[in-house]
Symmetry: C2
Subunit: 252 residues, 2 copies
């Protein structure tokens, strides 16, 4: 059996997230498994690098699966793309080491959150941004974001209150890009808790609106209490941008 690594783009707008769980229908994983299993002639399980929330997008989700295929990886990719709906696409496919696992081998990820900061409605971007009509103080948001860097217990920024495993994560870099009406915040870290990027972003937006000061952030961490952090920014502004593997990158 060959082990294939794929990179996927999807518009999460009409899906219940990446992962099928219990009775959850209409997930991206399920869509993909149906197609690959049909091509394989037997059930194939697809392993994603991690879940993405309902409504969240991906420029480059990574997944892998084991399958017999006599032709090239390119021909398999083409066969899958022909069968996928137009809001999901495989961008690349390669045969990898049998031990490669998209989640277990991952060293970290970059998520991107996009805010539309203008009184003018985001007509063409409405499905990919969170619209904040009032001007945000990006400098203050940047200051606040500095407190997120490094290793911390992110319990206050985790939506899963019954999380039993460690809530310690490390954020390597947070980058702000302002282009016309858009403010994009890219978070690069070794892993992210349930809705963590959306809660971090909601907290930064409240700082940008002047409802909180950047100096409040350490006390939010110290509280270890979800209630102390900001709101959960909507899923549609969020996209998984990169999953990285191998050496060298994680501390860069």
């Amino acid at each position: 059996m060959k082990n294939y690594k794929i990179i996927l783009s999807y518009d999460g707008g009409r899906y219940n997230g990446w992962q099928k769980q219990g009775n959850t229908e209409n997930t991206i994983q399920e869509k993909l498994e149906g197609i690959v299993s049909a091509l394989a002639g037997s059930p194939v399980e697809i392993y994603g690098s991690g879940r993405t929330d309902a409504g969240t997008h991906a420029y480059a989700q990574v997944a892998n699966f084991h399958m017999e295929w006599n032709k090239t990886a390119a021909s398999l990719m083409e066969a899958i793309n022909e069968r996928l709906p137009e809001d999901i696409a495989v961008r690349s496919m390669e045969e990898v080491n049998p031990r490669f696992h998209s989640r277990l081998s991952a060293k970290g990820k970059t998520y991107e959150y996009t805010i539309w900061n203008s009184k003018k409605p985001p007509v063409f971007w409405r499905k990919y941004v969170f619209w904040c009509p009032k001007p945000l103080d990006v400098e203050k948001m940047r200051q606040a974001s500095q407190f997120f860097l490094g290793g911390h217990d992110f319990k206050s920024f985790c939506a899963n209150k019954r999380m039993k495993k460690s809530t310690v994560r490390k954020i390597y870099e947070i980058q702000f890009t302002c282009a016309e009406e858009k403010i994009t915040i890219a978070y690069r870290g070794n892993g992210f808790l349930y809705q963590m990027v959306r809660i971090l972003t909601g907290t930064l937006i409240e700082v940008g609106e002047g409802k909180r000061s950047p100096q409040e952030i350490p006390s939010i961490f110290a509280a270890l209490d979800r209630e102390k952090a900001g709101f959960t920014a909507p899923a549609k502004g969020l996209a998984l941008k990169e999953v990285f593997y191998g050496e060298g990158r994680e501390n860069a």
Copy 2:
């Protein structure tokens, strides 16, 4: 009565074009007239700079209407935007000379057609581009487009076979922009016939695919026959980018 000029953006995807005609429902004009008439308390007619086809978008459609309004233009714009669906937005509004008419005063327009030229599906752009998976020869397309410049009888590029008025139009400039997977062709001219930009683009695509040579274009013009030109590129790749008024620009 004040005369208001508005600039509008819309995602034409779910509309039957700009203009209500006979029994055509679900047009952008109708949507807007409903809202403005309700604010005015009496029927208001909205004059657009021209029709856009069903499914075609606009970054900057221009329209005008006459209305009594005691507050600022900005407050009227806000009131309209609050009531519009999220795929239509008024970008600017100003009170203008009573004689201004968005269509009759217009000196010309720029339309933009976007082609997605990549084997990889346009996941996030799928509603705003026409997808051509095979590589296009852009240099050949550019050569062919040179024959469109200047004043011509564009009858071969007009979908209305029973057009009784003049089919002579002038194109001032055609600009190609290639950015990653996207080829954008901007056409600036004094006016465009029914589906003319889409037929010009379809013809250029056939040149790009090698099905026609650039040197064929003069004979297409000479035939005065729609059948001789290329296919009608789909509406969703087309957007009205600018309507221009006043002096100086049209020959620039």
